[in-house]
Symmetry: C2
Subunit: 398 residues, 2 copies
């Protein structure tokens, strides 16, 4: 990557974060009356649904506290993060200790799900907020949430099955990969290195052994309990963006460990295989789902282009380049960057569209809903900006 590209990318990500994404979302997503954050925003930022997703409350609190911890100690970032933490404490938890999935504006519960990602994202939020504020109780709560998440995701039978009879048991890559990410963030914010690093080791081992399949040259999304390939719709369905996100969590770990060659090789292999699977050679961009055998996928939106796989691929390609110096990854970074920036940003109102058709045209113009909020995009801008700055600092670029 040439020096001027490094400078250019760095500026695009920094300016995008500080002058576009954050001003689009804040302060309008903050519910100053009833607490927490709205995320159902129309193209122009108008709030079109006041229900609040619990995932997003955690993710947004994490983002704000992380920016406070790593970019600049802006008082409003800390105050908004605290508002999310307070809302989570007051309204996020059921009496059984599990968290809700969705609440109405005033915090009363609307939906609870069998999986425990609300807990994972809340753990991120409490940890980053604890570091930003020095609040020891928040640190304790972050650890408790992570323990709870681990207990539920690793104890067989603890989560009620979703109407699935155990004729064909299966597991997804989501739990080990989210565990890696949460453990990395908790380690970053709270210390306790060995505990978290040990858990990360175990999850990377599980991904390597059970989900990474050299004979298929891919990362499977859903496998049998021992990593068996399940030759049915569910087992054949690959999620390239998700696997590429897992790849950069592993590359991040490689970097943390001073350039662990084995982890670099694993992360790069995952990126390469899933790039080959997911990149749309006809229209560009990353397909949402593909079948491992090239058969039709059952999910209706399989060939749509969502914003977040592109965010994750932008990080993964840059990090792979940073860890290896391999210009192929730099070229892929430019490729996915260029396609994403040509299609996702909304030139009129700012931020990114989330949902494009396969050909890159906009399918739904909204900026947020239960699933899209200020998370994947600003995390990518923040992560890549800092990574590029680090590259600039270590070189003679002026």
């Amino acid at each position: 990557m040439r020096d001027e590209d490094i400078q250019k990318f760095s500026q695009v990500y920094r300016d995008g974060l500080l002058n576009d994404t954050l001003p689009f979302w804040f302060p309008r997503c903050v519910d100053t009356e009833q607490g927490g954050f709205f995320t159902a925003l129309d193209r122009d930022g108008a709030i079109i649904d006041t229900d609040k997703g619990v995932w997003q409350q955690g993710r947004i609190s994490w983002l704000l506290a992380t920016l406070y911890n790593t970019v600049e100690q802006r008082p409003e970032w800390l105050a908004w993060s605290r508002a999310g933490i307070t809302f989570l404490k007051q309204h996020g938890f059921d009496t059984d200790g599990r968290m809700f999935f969705q609440v109405i504006r005033d915090g009363r519960p609307l939906r609870k799900r069998r999986y425990v990602f609300s807990e994972a994202f809340a753990a991120l939020a409490f940890a980053a907020y604890a570091k930003a504020s020095g609040d020891e109780e928040a640190a304790t709560q972050a650890r408790n949430l992570f323990d709870n998440f681990l207990r539920f995701t690793t104890t067989p039978g603890l989560l009620p099955p979703k109407g699935i009879i155990q004729t064909r048991p299966a597991k997804g890559i989501a739990y080990p990969m989210i565990t890696i990410n949460v453990a990395q963030q908790l380690r970053e914010c709270l210390g306790d290195t060995e505990l978290f690093s040990d858990r990360i080791d175990r999850c990377i081992a599980e991904i390597r052994t059970d989900f990474v399949h050299p004979e298929l040259e891919c990362v499977l999304e859903t496998v049998g309990p021992g990593g068996e390939f399940i030759d049915h719709f569910d087992g054949r369905t690959l999620n390239p963006g998700h696997a590429i996100e897992a790849a950069w969590f592993i590359l991040h770990e490689a970097q943390y460990r001073g350039g662990d060659a084995d982890l670099i090789a694993l992360g790069c292999r995952m990126l390469e295989w899933m790039w080959a699977r997911g990149w749309d050679r006809e229209y560009g961009g990353l397909l949402y789902f593909v079948d491992v055998k090239g058969l039709p996928v059952q999910e209706y939106w399989h060939d749509m282009k969502f914003w977040w796989p592109h965010n994750e691929a932008i990080i993964a390609t840059l990090l792979a380049y940073r860890m290896t110096g391999n210009e192929t990854y730099a070229a892929w970074h430019r490729q996915v960057h260029d396609w994403a920036y040509a299609h996702f940003p909304d030139p009129e109102y700012g931020d990114w569209f989330g949902y494009l058709h396969r050909d890159g045209s906009v399918s739904a113009p909204l900026k947020g809903n239960m699933w899209k909020g200020p998370f994947h995009l600003p995390r990518m801008q923040w992560y890549c900006w800092r990574l590029l700055n680090d590259m600039i600092a270590r070189s003679d670029i002026t």
Copy 2:
């Protein structure tokens, strides 16, 4: 509608059913080794997943027995229908009397769902098979299944909620409309007119009172327990194809009752409002979901063109024309017919594609999965062929 159009449409539907749809699916979808039917067929008919959807077992058995009852007493239709009934009896039921949602090839259960549509479609199958075979036990089982379906769908609290806390109770149009359809078919096959007609009356009253909203000029898909409009994503999301299907169930009832003017008016109003909401003025065809206020829809596939809403609209427009003589409906019939036949049929391997992008291009080329099997398309071909034949018989068309 001109006489030659009536003749032409009649022939298209008849030939499509007998020379295209049925030969594509049969006998290849029949599992002669382990019983029941496959539905996960690739574009060329190759079986790409051997799991069996319980909905489809019932729907296919119903179709075959209905063709036997109304078109021609082909022995293979009865034999295949019996094979489906046998498979359902052996593998469709859990020990609690509820039915499964999905089983593996040999019939062992894979998934069970909280809703009870497996029961509704099995009731259709047992009733039509009872009429075709004279099997009294099948007739009894059809009545029991319908009673069970009613018990679960009308007894508050009997079905475990899907992680939805009752902060904002809601109900969908699916239960009353499917009840109408099942009651109509059971009445047709088993008699017991008053019992079924009474139940139909109640469901039509519920749809009229709670789901048809004149102030919004639309049929809502999801409402509060008393028909309240819910101004959130879920409550705003309209499903035009579904409401148009409900409209023709009501028009069918109007026809059965000798042209009940009140029911004709209701069915036509539902069709008109949802045609206005669902027809895509830019690309043609029916959008899958639209927002009642024109806001963005949260479901990713909202603007895709699925086969089944077009099947239902083809029936509804023809039946509305048949019941009123209003040429507007004949024009709509031609319009949706022309768009559907220009985009859905697969000229190479036969049958219809199921999943198109908004612009009419093919998204997934498969012919069947857990949701698409030989049901909506052949039901439309069968229903419209017979309706047009009835029109021909009552006129002087030669």
